[in-house]
Symmetry: D2
Subunit: 170 residues, 4 copies
């Protein structure tokens, strides 16, 4: 059964930061980045999919420049895996998806993130990571955003700033 | 783009119990069932996929009889949706998948569960629910088990009793 | 046994805000105040001490003015209870304790707070609330700060800005 | 100021098990004991009181024998500290308190526990630990149970089996 080669493939996970990985600095009372929590989340999910994690940067997506997006693009291109999940801030996730979507056609790439930091307990991060790892195994080549249990092709998605949710363009 | 009709479809979720929904009775110091936590989990995941939940039973899968499996089978058959997620105890999940797999060919059905109750904080439930909702949107018709970030066709899966993980038959 | 009248007394809890009650706004990615979580914390602690809660304000202690401190002082004075717990931001807790300590001698007043918001999971709030409710039942009249499992008289305490901990003046 | 020697004293914590320290075995779906979580709870509470922890046993209080209670009694007697907190199962906490109360007069001893395991997220353990560490610093010599934010002398307390709460005898 061809379809089911899925369980032996390896998936690349690129970490870029975003709310996913923010922590609370109790001395200053502010949010900051330290290390990624994706390893811990995969452990919590008892994930047995073969994954290879690499942290590219740790930043808010509002601070991302063209140079940063280029780093992400080059890493996606050079990765030996053709299935890639990228954790990313939600505010500019659509912009990065656009860059990747225009230049990469021969891989399945899923961008995902969270509205609440994983360390805060009430996070949607674990749900989104679970969805993204499933979508990356089953969707045809292309670049997608996966949030709220849904997936969106890179050229038909926007973030609704009022609700914080992702939706189709029309 | 045909594939992407996905976001408008409705998914049926059948609740049958299992570790997913167990709670701790603090007076007796034992685990028990009360109500399902799947609504709460979908809220936590900010899930915006259209779902219709229905609780069929609330039981340990080790206590399931043929009659119980028949109830699940009949409900899957009669559901107007052709995409169904079933939350289920992991101990006998494979048996139920077999019954469904032998009798239903025209729907995508995903059975999932958890190793740790959702209310215990360290649960894999939210991750598994996220994966299952993604797999059910993207896999072709058939009956599958989704655990540990993977999916398995009903006729090539077993639960490893030592590790608590699901794996292929050979 | 005189000492043990403790269990029938009623304790006043005044809420003033502070890290204790901060929440994460997922749309803006910032911390803010909504409602107090002290009710929820007392429920979690299965607290059966008779308490009467009143929210005086919901603010960061760095934003507190003399007028705000006066409101706290007046409420402590007018409360029929002679045992009072005050939840308060830690940054200026010492200043408020000083105002209360100079003007109130006939009540036991405990100021407490948290370094991490209760909603973030890893909070010290529940521990501090438990300590404070115990100290307020057993310490003689006077104004104290209770943090880190310790208690400090109002005139011999400072917050160490480097460690975030409270300590004696010498 | 005599009262305030409190902050320099050292407190002994004896671990005996109980719901406090139970964990969920995800392979067998049952509760069991592994290591104590009291270190982790003290860290979460940012506790800066000087404590010395020692695990005497790890058991359900319903399984405790006279020999077990004797071990606890002897350890309390021989401890150089005169302030002791004991974590203990709630079901037979009153019986152990009685043994200690009849034989030890020159120390302040607080027995405490939890209705829900610390690892389950919704535990009252952190609240009770905070209360107990405060009561042990401030109550006069004697043996007490501290639960639900209250303290009870050993000879005037029972566990209400219906509510799971502790209450005075009359």
């Amino acid at each position: 059964m061809t379809l089911w080669l899925g369980n032996t493939m390896r998936i690349k996970i690129f970490i870029t930061g975003g709310t996913f990985d923010k922590e609370y600095n109790e001395i200053e009372g502010k949010l900051f980045f330290k290390d990624t929590h994706v390893h811990e989340m995969l452990r919590l999910g008892r994930c047995r999919v073969k994954v290879d994690l690499r942290t590219l940067m740790m930043m808010d997506s509002v601070d991302m420049t063209d140079a940063d997006r280029n780093i992400i693009l080059e890493n996606c291109r050079k990765a030996p895996e053709d299935r890639i999940v990228i954790t990313h801030g939600t505010d500019r996730m659509v912009e990065t998806a656009k860059v990747l979507g225009e230049f990469i056609q021969n891989k399945t790439i899923i961008l995902t993130g969270a509205m609440v930091p994983f360390t805060f307990g009430s996070s949607d991060g674990l749900f989104n990571l679970g969805s993204s790892l499933a979508f990356v195994q089953t969707l045809p080549h292309g670049v997608y955003i996966s949030m709220n249990g849904k997936y969106f092709p890179w050229n038909n998605v926007r973030k609704n700033r009022q609700t914080g949710e992702f939706e189709e363009l029309e």
